[in-house]
């Protein structure tokens, strides 16, 4: 009788969490690449902030119109900014706008989405109607109106973030609402309700932990949208003009005809910086999507 006896000690042990994480990253290469780029950008910004003099990111602090060289690794622009310093500060400011607007937008979305789905009734119909009415309005254009109506001196990194977030909380609200609605129907919530847990207890102990992947995905998506929106506003010349925000550098280069004058490095550097930021966020977002929604997971 041909027998294959597999004894218990031959069975491989369940791998450790860290190993599983790296194994998952190996399969979800997009997420891995996105995280890697984000890590490199963070290193660039943090080390950059330690190395440079932030004053050099502002006009008349360096020689004018210098191509990249040893002294100015990224060159300088028409206004006498050291573009290396400008890129470091701009990267930091872009990140600040993204995180601030993304954070606030996600927070509003989570609170509204939760209340809407959990309490239902008029709260739900109110939130839903407002979202439905605001969704067809092109957010970027309304932001143009707001940014355009402000005094140029009032436009700072903070107001920029607030303008961006003003009409960008509907997305996460609807996503979180839909998820809470499906979760509300699940068994474990019903059990918690029957066992007499309070509304807040259920929200924080039962629903919220299960929502984290969706909240994380919504947050990354919001940061992406915020960086995107701030880029558009800045390219239109509606950003905080004094600041070396990446979009502002592009706008400045564009309005000085940088390509026609041969200063190719001036607009290209912030453009590539933007590609890296948005690219890494897009990759992470896709990766998280795959994590949060098992059906999207690849079969191999």
């Amino acid at each position: 009788m041909a027998t294959i006896a597999v004894s218990a000690d031959q069975v491989p042990e369940q791998p450790k969490a860290l190993t599983l994480f790296f194994r998952y990253l190996n399969r979800n290469k997009g997420l891995a690449l996105g995280l890697l780029i984000l890590l490199l950008l963070t290193l660039f910004t943090v080390i950059g902030l330690l190395v440079i003099n932030p004053k050099h990111a502002y006009p008349l602090s360096a020689a004018l119109k210098q191509p990249p060289s040893l002294k100015y690794p990224f060159g300088t622009d028409f206004f006498g900014r050291d573009l290396f310093a400008a890129m470091v500060v701009g990267m930091w400011q872009t990140a600040a706008i993204g995180l601030l607007a993304g954070g606030i937008g996600t927070f509003i979305g989570v609170v509204l989405g939760f209340s809407s789905a959990y309490f239902g009734g008029w709260v739900d119909s109110g939130v839903r109607t407002i979202c439905q009415i605001l969704t067809p309005i092109p957010v970027l254009l309304i932001q143009v109106v707001i940014a355009g109506s402000l005094d140029k001196r009032d436009v700072t990194i903070l107001t920029m973030a607030l303008i961006v977030v003003l009409l960008a909380w509907m997305g996460p609200t609807l996503v979180i609402r839909a998820q809470v609605l499906t979760m509300k129907e699940r068994q474990f919530v019903a059990v918690a309700k029957l066992s007499g847990m309070s509304d807040f207890g259920i929200i924080f102990k039962e629903i919220l932990p299960n929502l984290l992947p969706f909240i994380a995905a919504a947050f990354v998506g919001q940061v992406f949208a915020a960086v995107f929106a701030s880029l558009y506003l800045a390219v239109l010349g509606l950003g905080p003009l004094r600041e070396p925000l990446l979009g502002n550098i592009i706008w400045a280069a564009q309005s000085q005809g940088a390509f026609f004058n041969g200063w190719w490095w001036w607009p290209l550097e912030p453009a590539f910086g933007m590609i890296l930021i948005l690219g890494s966020l897009a990759l992470i977002n896709m990766g998280l999507d795959e994590l949060a929604n098992p059906r999207v997971r690849k079969s191999e």
């Binding site: 009788m1 006896a5 004894s7 218990a8 791998p15 599983l20 191999e300």
Partner: protein, 346 residues
């Protein structure tokens, strides 16, 4: 009844010369079918050396807990196992054609034509944006492209009629039908080309009791009409007992016992079958439900030897050590259990 047992025995032992007592060869012979899933946490053998055979007009029920490999077996027979799963070996003969050896194009032609599958999730098995009729017509057209329009139409109407559906269903959409009607449509599609073998994968799950019965009767009737061999997958032993000729019991990817319905209910051989049968409610001990202790094992970490031994009430010294093999009892029944080692060796 005895002829079918003989065919099961002979078919499994020696497929090339399998003839039952009446001299009619079994229409379906499954031999040593094996499926493995390759997952992050290891390999899972979802189907392990499964062999059986069926004659035309015969009905076989496949029972077992969720994850015991019933649906995997159905998908493997249709050659529809998707990665990370893989059919590792074995053959599925319909008459003299081994489905496993066909090229993809021939296999596509064989589906529905030779072997039809009636899906588990009939609620969601019909395309929501196509009319029912179009979904029947495209099935016929892909197998008989030269058939005339009226012939195709006739075929569809006949199939709908045979499952007791009104011909107006032809022009309807899935969302306009009830659950039982959708299941009937799936059966009608399954018999469109009068296949030799029909696999119905839990055709009655998600239906209410009355509809369940109607659906089972429908399967019964259409089977008689085209004289196909039918495999019914399900875990409702009671419902199955009324409709099938023989029963196969699956546990952890293995087919651990095949018996006629009568034998299975009066004298189950495998301890797992015994537990299944005694867990059925009956009028003598009503109110007393006897479950099976323990949980179904994870396919990733199967117990050594016989996978059932941790839950078995008749466990012996050899059980955790030696993997039991297929055995044929003197009366022709198939079982995989060390309890019968001596009976078959002497």
């Amino acid at each position: 009844m005895s002829s079918t047992i003989a065919s099961a025995q002979a078919g499994s032992r020696n497929a090339t010369q399998a003839f039952d007592a009446s001299g009619e060869p079994p229409v379906l012979r499954v031999k040593n079918l094996e499926v493995t899933y390759y997952t992050d946490s290891g390999r899972a053998k979802a189907l392990d050396d499964v062999s059986f055979s069926l004659s035309a007009g015969e009905k076989m029920g496949m029972v077992g807990e969720s994850g015991s490999g019933k649906s995997t077996m159905a998908l493997a027979m249709m050659r529809m196992i998707k990665p990370p799963g893989r059919v590792e070996g074995g053959s599925v003969f319909i008459d003299d054609v081994d489905l496993m050896a066909l090229d993809p194009k021939a296999m596509r032609q064989a589906r529905l034509n030779k072997i039809a599958y009636i899906p588990q999730g009939a609620m969601n098995s019909l395309n929501p944006v196509m009319r029912i009729g179009s979904q029947m017509v495209d099935a016929i057209k892909s197998h008989a492209p030269s058939e005339s329009r009226t012939a195709i139409q006739d075929r569809c109407m006949h199939a709908l009629k045979s499952v007791d559906l009104d011909s107006s269903v032809f022009g309807m959409y899935a969302h306009e039908l009830s659950g039982g009607m959708k299941q009937r449509v799936c059966i009608a599609i399954g018999v469109l080309l009068e296949p030799k073998v029909i696999i119905a994968d839990e055709p009655t799950s998600a239906l209410d009791v009355v509809t369940q019965r109607q659906v089972m009767e429908t399967i019964d009737r259409v089977q008689d009409e085209i004289n196909a061999a039918v495999i019914l997958i399900g875990h409702d032993m009671g419902l199955m007992a009324q409709f099938v000729d023989k029963v196969g019991v699956m546990y952890a990817g293995r087919l651990v016992e095949v018996s006629t319905v009568r034998d299975m209910f009066t004298d189950p051989k495998h301890p797992y079958s015994q537990a299944l049968i005694s867990s059925l409610p009956n009028l003598d001990n009503k109110g007393v439900f006897q479950g099976i202790p323990g949980l179904a094992p994870s396919l990733l970490r199967l117990p050594s030897g016989c996978a059932f031994h941790p839950r078995c009430t008749k466990v012996m010294d050899t059980c955790p050590k030696v993997r039991p093999e297929v055995e044929y009892l003197p009366d022709g029944r198939m079982v995989i259990c060390h309890l019968y080692d001596e009976e078959t060796e002497h």
